[in-house]
Symmetry: C2
DNA sequence: TTTTATTGGTTTAGGGGGTGAACTTTTTTG
DNA sequence: CAAAAAAGTTCACCCCCTAAACCAATAAAA
């Protein structure tokens, strides 16, 4: 087997498995210390889908429902999300508050700046296309969605 | 600004920030549930460097020394690492045990299979080169090393 | 030398993350 | 209408992390 494949595997390990925390650490101390990646992810999902139930959030984040129960409790306390009444009184439907919108906007802005400075400014045009092609595949691979218990 | 850049940023977010946990989850339930990513990372560092002190491990993993203190305690209990005597009796030098070698070998094998099946089998030759180019840059960006307190 | 830093680790409190099982409550179903 | 299923919460337990207090050993100063 090709040494290129070996290098690819090693890089995948270093970057995708052991390297992600470092990304967060190097982004913005102030902001990323206030909200966990998982909390921001949940907010981001609500931003995109408008309203989601706890069960749906669990499926989308790929975690057990009890994890969502705790997370939403914290986000409710921080007033970043609110509960919307629904006909089925078993389920809880969540949506962002204005403050939640603000926070997710800020997160996006910081990510934008980081990627721009760290990556985009250091690659040429051709490499951006390569980045897009590769990352579209990666995103497809890690897509969680509907694995359920 | 180019829509390609926007897509790049969005992909970076999805993959590098919110997507990594999913990678671990989808790899191998059995094995990855026994050892945390951080524990395996530490073993991997020892595999590469042979012997490392607690302080050095903290720098390499980019965490506080107390985090290493706890981690090494667990790995010692599992007998995956051992302490090596040194002249300076303040510091602790660690190295892998035979069992530690076995575990890190297994981790590498599983990663290998995963990357092969999920990624390599679905890209063509040209894309592998693109993957290498992009991931070498990413690795350079997230390199922690010697940030210290 | 003797005293005073400094360095390397450990411990503890407190706050994240996660799971699985037990338990409610509300809907569905047969 | 009783039994089963679905949606959430709580609890015990484990991992991760930091910051601050604390010890022990080595290095530096006086």
């Amino acid at each position: 087997m090709d040494t290129r494949i070996k290098e690819a595997i090693s890089l995948f390990e270093d970057v995708m498995i052991y390297g992600t925390e470092q990304v967060l650490r190097s982004m913005d101390e102030q902001f990323w210390n206030q909200y966990s990646p998982e909390q921001l992810h949940l907010l981001k999902l609500l931003k995109k889908e408008e309203r989601l139930t706890a069960g749906r959030l669990a499926a989308l984040q790929g975690v057990h429902k009890s994890a969502i129960s705790g997370r939403t409790k914290k986000l409710l306390a921080k007033e970043l999300i609110r509960v919307v009444e629904t006909p089925d009184r078993r389920s809880k439907l969540y949506e962002l508050t204005a403050e939640g919108e603000r926070v997710i906007g800020k997160a996006r802005e910081l990510t934008h700046r980081y990627v721009q400075e760290q990556l985009v400014d250091h690659v040429n045009d051709e490499e951006i296309d390569q980045f897009l092609r590769i990352f579209r595949k990666l995103k497809a691979i890690i897509k969680t969605e509907e694995v359920d218990e």
